[in-house]
């Protein structure tokens, strides 16, 4: 079976084509502004949609009618952006008479990770611009065992970069600073049970820039932020008694975060998995995989049910495939 998946929750418009066994294509184009303006991002997605779709089909060497099911990220995400993928998917579905399935973006991240790594029943640390969640499967649902109480970790990093005058996107520069900078103790470390909050840490790190170098402030900021999420993840692993960690999302690319997760897992005899970056960041292939998974387990959607869902929570999704 072949599934074509379309992703457009935030910056990235992506089209992925997968079978049960492999990714045939995973093409994307990202909106690049400082921060994100939902309507402008949506305009970008609408503009590149046709081209990215063609690229993906060419790469997979198939035509639209060769696909058995079309899926799209139904939420959560920015409304105007979400609607582009939904519209594309509906058009394909109507025109070619292919069944349509809308899937949850966060769960697609987890499931594609389980697909391409050896993780079976992991605790997932999902870190991206908008999302920072600790997800684990329990009692027939993917449940959130910890999450940010305010902004996503990537968003925090972006704001710091922008305020400190780093070129956008700042993560490459900041990854470097985390490696070369000197850690200055004293920044807030806000873990509340299994949840964490970044806004106070961000404010203090920006104040630190006035007295120290941007490099050292960035290092200190990210060390604390990563330590907070890793600590909360470890607590979730202890609480759920699970022995696998899956790290995913755009921020999963951070070498330092990967290193910290790896150390934490080693110290508690757990296994650590990170999918390849192309499947960690927002991408079409994960939506395609999720669509295939749900479709093959009996999920069907009428066109009326394909309305986007901006605030669709991870634990609201009914899991039929596990």
């Amino acid at each position: 079976m072949i599934c074509l998946g379309i992703e457009s929750t935030a910056h990235t418009f992506g089209v992925g084509i997968v079978t049960e066994d492999e990714v045939l294509a995973n093409e994307s184009d990202s909106y690049s502004g400082v921060g994100i303006h939902p309507r402008e991002a949506a305009d970008h997605h609408a503009e590149v949609a046709g081209r990215v779709l063609k690229q993906a089909l060419k790469k997979a060497d198939i035509g639209v009618t060769d696909t058995d099911v079309v899926s799209f990220s139904k939420g959560p995400g920015l409304g105007p952006c979400l609607r582009i993928a939904a519209t594309c998917a509906r058009t394909i579905s109507l025109q070619s008479g292919i069944p349509i399935v809308g899937v949850n973006h966060c769960i697609a991240h987890v499931e594609v990770g389980r697909w391409v790594t050896e993780a079976c029943d992991p605790v997932t640390l999902y870190v991206s611009g908008g999302n920072t969640q600790i997800i684990a499967y329990a009692g027939g649902r993917y449940r959130v065992f910890g999450e940010t109480l305010d902004i996503g970790i990537g968003n925090m990093q972006d704001i710091f970069g922008r305020e400190a005058g780093l070129p956008f996107p700042c993560y490459r520069e900041m990854d470097k600073m985390v490696r070369t900078g000197v850690y200055i103790p004293g920044l807030p470390y806000t873990v509340k049970g299994n949840d964490f909050s970044f806004s106070g840490l961000l404010t203090q790190a920006l104040k630190m820039v006035q007295e120290h170098t941007v490099e050292n402030a960035a290092k200190s900021l990210m060390e604390n932020a990563y330590a907070m999420v890793v600590e909360a993840t470890e607590r979730a692993m202890a609480h759920t008694e699970k022995t696998e960690l899956l790290l995913t999302g755009g921020v999963a690319a951070s070498p330092r975060l990967q290193e910290m997760c790896c150390t934490m897992c080693r110290e508690r005899d757990a296994s650590f998995y990170v999918p390849p970056h192309s499947l960690c960041r927002d991408n079409g292939a994960m939506i395609a995989h999720q669509g295939l998974l749900e479709y093959s387990h009996g999920k069907r959607m009428r066109l009326e049910d394909t309305v986007v869902s901006q605030k669709w929570r991870t634990d609201e999704v009914e899991i039929t495939w596990r």
């Binding site: 330590a227 600590e231 605030k311």
Partner: protein, 205 residues
């Protein structure tokens, strides 16, 4: 001395009072050792472990005025260990009834009224021994009478119920709130929980 649990931030060891102190007491004693985490900066690691050890000991002691907590025997701030009474019972995680939930709510109300916020209220940190309810693990606690941390405290418990006791968490939560309402000012705290939830990602507003 045997290790009975490897928690997220501490290892727990079980030994006997007589082996550590005086021979005339055969009570079981628990040693909680906060272990160093290789993933975080050494300065941060030491500061967190030390701060939480001192904090926990202080709060375990102060909380005694309001709820049951284990008896403290010894604190080592360099080694980051607390030696305390071993409370032999069932974790609320494994065995929680609605009656208990109401009593737990009342306990939290007393703690909050006394100016103590637990900071990590999960059902793993509440132990049931006979008819007594013990609270453990005050490492993330705070001494405060502010509404916000009190509401976060309850919000965390709600989340723990939701994720661990998914079949009947609503009933348990309702009972906990009923118990909590025994204190003055509970209305403001409960109202604040709703506000905190609204701040979360993708919550229903």
């Amino acid at each position: 001395m045997i290790r009975i649990r490897k928690g997220a931030e501490a290892d727990l060891y079980l030994t006997e009072f007589s082996a550590l102190y005086f021979p005339w007491n055969s009570e079981k004693v628990l040693i909680k050792k906060r272990i160093s985490k290789g993933y975080r900066q050494p300065e941060l690691d030491h500061e967190l472990r030390q701060r939480r050890t001192i904090h926990e000991a202080k709060l375990l002691h102060e909380a005694k005025a309001y709820v049951h907590t284990p008896v403290l025997y010894e604190i080592d701030t360099e080694d980051c260990t607390i030696t305390m009474e071993y409370v032999e019972g069932a974790r609320a995680k494994d065995d929680m009834t609605e009656d208990m939930a109401e009593e737990i709510g009342a306990c939290i109300a007393r703690l909050h009224e006394g100016g103590i916020v637990h900071g990590d209220l999960t059902t793993s940190n509440i132990i049931l021994k006979g008819s007594r309810i013990y609270f453990i693990d005050f490492g993330l606690g705070e001494v405060t009478t502010e509404i916000e941390p009190q509401a976060v405290d309850l919000h965390l418990l709600k989340q723990a119920l939701e994720s661990t006791h998914y079949t009947h968490w609503r009933k348990l939560w309702k009972k906990i709130l009923e118990g909590y309402k025994t204190r003055s000012g509970s209305h403001d705290v409960i109202k604040r929980i709703r506000e905190i939830e609204k701040r979360g990602r993708y919550s229903k507003r």
